[in-house]
Amino acid sequence: MDLTETAETAAFRAEARAWLADHVPSSPLPSLETREGFAAHRAWEARLHADRWSVVSWPEEYGGRGVDLVHWLVFEEEYWAAGAPGRVSQNGISLLAPTLLDHATAEQRARVLPPMASGEVIWAQAWSEPEAGSDLASLTSRAVRTEGGWLLSGQKTWSSRAAFADRAFGIFRTGPDTPKPHQGLTYLMFDLRAPGVTVRPIGRLDGKPAFAEIFLDEVFVPDQDVIGEPGQGWRIAMSTTGNERGLTLRSPGRFLAAAGRLTALWHAQGEPADTALRDRVADAVVGARAYELFTWAAAARFAAGGAAGAESSLNKVFWSEYDIALHETALDLLGADAERADGEWAEPWIFSLAGPVYAGTNEIQRDIIAERLLGLPKGRR
């Protein structure tokens, strides 16, 4: 049991810190959920990529540094501590890339990953459908075989980033008459500007088009954009949800930085005698630390060959509820200024509110924790 950093890791940390100190924009970029901000964030991805900081954990051939999870965690700590911009490429990097690395052909990896790393191609996810949210397996959008590829038809929704992104990935029904809903699904990538695609941006609570509906009308997808075997889409999609993704979806560094900002706000605005707020600030500090340490332990388990499983559900419930509590504390510290739309906590608060629903609702995650980690009998679902 050990938390000391090796000299090599410390050197990596120092290198990241120095680079970030030199390059992080001195004033925040516009929100990445706006056209202008999206472009600025894309440029920032290119800047990161130029010095190989955009995807440190990827193999070098695709633009990474081939470092392990520990280094990735260190990089993330430094990244968020430096106040660096949000990652507009996050969907591609944390959802699609692990799938490509596990299941794609060498040709696909070589073709898709480098432009993802550079921000040249930005990816949207296209999982949910209007009638398939928590019950994802019930999706009905289909891909029909055609010469040299597939024709996609149907509707996807809640596609984050889709308003401004270039391409999207998701699973589609290719064998409609299977006995179980998880069968006959195929994992595909498609162009958001292809003929037959209509993207309708959807305004978030603050009006920003943080997600979109995607209408698909016989959209052609060449065979080269099918990942893995047709019909194996569910298995492929699920195989990467249980792995390190649980750890890399929201890095501890983000919350350590947020807890640091909250503590600074408390020092600036808080009444030291107000223990009710003090306790909530302390809880945020301790929670960020707990999340960090939980992640270090999970990284050590992976390094020792342990498999990840339903722990990612623990992780998901923890960070999403933590994030809301942290932002509510900030708003309570701000008092009358809490509702100012131009306040620096307003957009992060709105963003935090999506956490319990996003990436598998916390209700479903708690069912998973109870059934898979505690072995409770499966109920009706």
Binding site: S128, S134, S138, G203, D206, A336, V357
Partner: protein
């Protein structure tokens, strides 16, 4: 002693509810958010016709007397409908001018407020429960400001800022300048009473907002199907909604009692519980609607975005808790 609304009180609330129910308030809110105040002004006139604004002014000035229970029941309906605008603040201005007892001032402003000719807004000193911002001064004919020193002025509203609720605009009235209307301890005293009324009516509005959020969410979970069943049949969903109802049902009698007494502790208790119940209802609504609840295009957002600012307006939970214990604090 019959701690229930009288038939007349219930009828009045029903009248308002019916008027607002057919007034397409969501469209009014969306226009208001875009800075188009016309439909909101028009709805104000129709509300005035029910006698709502008369409930915050003495009979001598076209009012019906200061009738907090009736006014509170009315404000529950405004909250339920999602009515935009400085509704609490206009009523509070009416209370302020009524309490002040300056006949010239009362004559100058009260009949217009009672008749719903215009909105008014105001700020009060911190000690009276107010914050630094005047609500919707850009839509109000008059912006009143009471200073810590007890000066009541018609103030220039200053720069207009956006709120996380797009149907609310904030501005910080100029500290000095503007027509001096009154000054002295009587102003400070009237401001204290006014702060309590503003808090009470905000509590009422919160209760209505919470009830609307619950009703919409109950409706949604009955029809939304996942895993082959309405999501409202899942126990986790049921229990969240049961807790939401519980919080609202135990907040309502506090509101009634506060309206009867307008005592500081009672009003603070009502605001605390109504505000928290509405905000919790918003969080539950958001959770149970899934992604669609997170969109501005669903009308649910109109109430969702109100819940938190109203929870804090005219008395944060912390300020209300302090007030609840204040009368019994020794020394």
């Amino acid at each position: 002693m019959r701690f229930l609304p009288t038939d007349e009180q219930s009828d009045f609330a029903r009248t308002l509810r019916s008027l607002l129910g057919s007034a397409q308030v969501p469209a009014v809110v969306r226009a208001w958010s875009d800075g188009e105040h016309g439909p909101g002004h028009e709805l104000r006139s129709r509300l005035a016709a029910t006698g709502l604004f008369a409930l915050a002014a003495p009979e001598a000035y076209e009012g019906a007397g200061l009738l907090a229970p009736e006014l509170s029941l009315g404000f529950v309906e405004l909250g339920r409908a999602g009515m935009p605008g400085p509704v609490v603040e206009s009523a509070a201005v009416s209370v302020l001018l009524s309490e002040l007892g300056d006949e010239a001032l009362a004559k100058r402003f009260l009949p217009g407020l009672v008749a719903g000719e215009a909105w008014a807004t105001l700020t009060l000193p911190g000690g009276s429960g107010g914050g630094p911002y005047a609500l919707d001064a850009d839509a109000a004919a008059h912006c009143f400001a009471v200073s810590d020193a007890g000066e009541l002025r018609l103030a220039a509203p200053g720069e207009v800022l956006r709120s996380t609720d797009p149907a609310r605009r904030l501005s910080r009235p100029a500290a000095a300048g503007g027509e001096l209307l009154a000054a002295g301890p009587a102003v400070t005293r009237a401001a204290a009473v006014t702060g309590r009324w503003a808090r009470l009516l905000t509590a009422a509005q919160c209760l209505g907002v919470g009830e609307a959020l619950l009703a919409r969410t109950v409706g949604y979970v009955k029809q939304r199907t996942q895993f082959g069943a309405p999501i409202g049949s899942f126990q986790a969903v049921k229990h969240r909604l049961a807790d939401t109802l519980l919080a609202l049902e135990f907040a309502r009698p506090l509101l009634w009692a506060a309206a009867l007494s307008t005592a500081p502790g009672d009003v603070a208790a009502a605001k605390l519980r109504c505000g928290e119940a509405a905000y919790r209802a918003a969080m539950t609504a958001l959770r149970l609607h899934g992604a669609v609840g997170y969109t501005e295009e669903l009308d649910l957002s109109l109430w969702l975005r109100k819940a938190r600012p109203l929870r804090d307006a005219w008395g944060t939970p912390s300020a209300c808790r302090a007030e609840v214990l204040r009368p019994v604090t020794p020394g």
